[in-house]
Symmetry: D3
Subunit: 136 residues, 6 copies
């Protein structure tokens, strides 16, 4: 009995989209307002989907308290109220776009949850713009 469970979480962060290998003009052209040198920010909403086999004894795929604690410890604590560009080493050389941020969070959670469970992450930068990794 293969099933998926979902858990939502949220945190707030600041970021700036800027490619240091490009001119200021190209950065402004590609990233527009998101290139503001003083940063801007978002309430990130996150939906974590975990797929696997239900445990017959507990009736659980995974204890959602355990999943929630992993998300709190390894995602919320790491990113909440942070500046992605300045406070997160991974974004020293990587553009903190929603695509790259979603990919980073997926890797963190997939490693913590182990290979018996398939993780998918949907990350909302705003209620109208969001990203999902991996693709179906």
């Amino acid at each position: 009995m293969r099933i998926s469970v979902f858990r939502k979480a949220h945190f707030n962060a600041a970021h700036r989209l800027h490619n240091p290998r490009w001119s200021d003009e190209k950065n402004a052209e590609v990233y527009g307002l998101c290139n503001n040198a003083h940063y801007h920010g978002h309430n990130y909403d996150m939906e974590v989907k975990v797929t696997g086999e239900v445990n017959e004894d507990s009736g659980y795929l995974i204890d959602l308290k355990v999943l929630s604690d992993i998300i709190k410890e390894h995602v919320e604590k790491r990113f909440d109220h942070k500046n992605l560009n300045l406070d997160i080493p991974y974004f020293k050389d990587v553009i903190p776009s929603t695509e790259n941020f979603c990919y980073l969070i997926h890797g963190i959670l997939q490693e913590k949850l182990g290979s018996d469970l398939d993780v998918k992450v949907r990350l909302y930068e705003t209620p109208r713009n969001y990203v999902e990794y991996p693709a179906d």
Copy 2:
């Protein structure tokens, strides 16, 4: 032209998570507050996804009034304002976790809708915790 249509529904129920083959200590450890002997409850929200071929004459995959009536008759009427442990025979021997409840509802709806249509059920125990069966 293969397409999916979705219909949302909701109902309220009480339940308790308790495995009679376990000690009280193990039940408390695994299920935490959900093990309260006096029950607790939820507003269950449900998203039913039906996939198949559109009828060229009507432009419908399925009349949503028909789908809505099937959901009312076979899901809402059976579970709304009920105690899952005491009022639903299926849960005499099965833990009424969201996973098992979603699986039960899927079986009911798939049988009523017939094998030409593929049913998937997403069941929200809370807006932040939910389950989908079958997995993609």
Copy 3:
């Protein structure tokens, strides 16, 4: 500078509407499905509104962390995953309708927050049915 701040919270509980001074027939007539002897339940969503003067030094009416902790300690901890009829002494002699439940929560929070702040509570039994106390 008089302003209002709001904080949302949520918890789950079971209840039953039943007036012991009435016959079974009258209870069934007045309360319908809500009279089920085995209880049913809800995800209660709560919106707490606090009105008063902003502190010029902090720019806060009240630290929302403080407000959130008071709500957790005195509302969520007391009612979450509980059976209102069996686990909450107040409802021994009072019908646990949303109206009476909202009134009870308002009294708890108004007392904890003190008379310099005006508290209003909106309590959602479902997303479509809710109650506000005190009235405007």
Copy 4:
């Protein structure tokens, strides 16, 4: 690194479900209130999902400003505040059901976005009734 990005949009339109090859009785039976000769209307919400490879330089799958402009120009401008039956030539011979409308919008966007990107459209006729094309 294959990923999906989503963009939400919305517009309002009127329509009527009526098959001219059927009798009035059959139209009333199949379409019910949706057959009202004077039309009725909806706030259509739309979720566009685009899947493909992330560009390493920009960190974007697609600039959401570009996607948003394509949706505005080719979907919102064409359908917003319109009568689907009278103002949209495609629905001269096609029933403007949500299924057929979703299929039409998908074709418009897939052509504009090109074959390197896979488009999926979810179209909400109401918050409780919606359609997705193509099916998973």
Copy 5:
């Protein structure tokens, strides 16, 4: 113990904003796309607020089943899947703006509920544009 209870409802309708005493140019200037001669439409969401004294025996201000039935009979049945301009006599001489529509619905419900209860209606034309009558 004065309290407010709320009930949400929804229905779909078509309309057109057009003042027959104005020129076509003035109508186009004032109403823009909303002046389309072929009509457009909305999913109207409605929040009905009823304020009064709680009944000590029942714990209810008003049985929400009774309120819901009044809304269904006198609002939803009258307006759902209708064309406000053509199907509703009241709008023969009145512009079916959200303001005027909200005022009409308030009058209907206030009369049905009687003078012991104070009714307020919030009417959403879209999730971002809405109206409340009477004003606080």
Copy 6:
């Protein structure tokens, strides 16, 4: 016929809560994570309520396109994708708390809309924390 109309809007910004007249210890104690020197950010959602008399000719209190344009020009353009502390002169000497930010936006809109209309602003820092000015 006195009525209220509402319009929702949203924008993203970064900020930091820090009182330069306090020690670092006191700032950390009062503002917690919100004191991060590198800033963090939010998706601000805003609900503008305007109250006054309906114009009998147009059926409008105010053309929502006009209201929406005023909000875009004087609020969204000024604050979207900005750093409140660094990009907004008003916050040189004022803590950019949600309370103070809501007060600032209210003043801007009340001035633009004139004294015949009463403006109230609800500003969401997150979906669970928000502020309203002026208080009822």
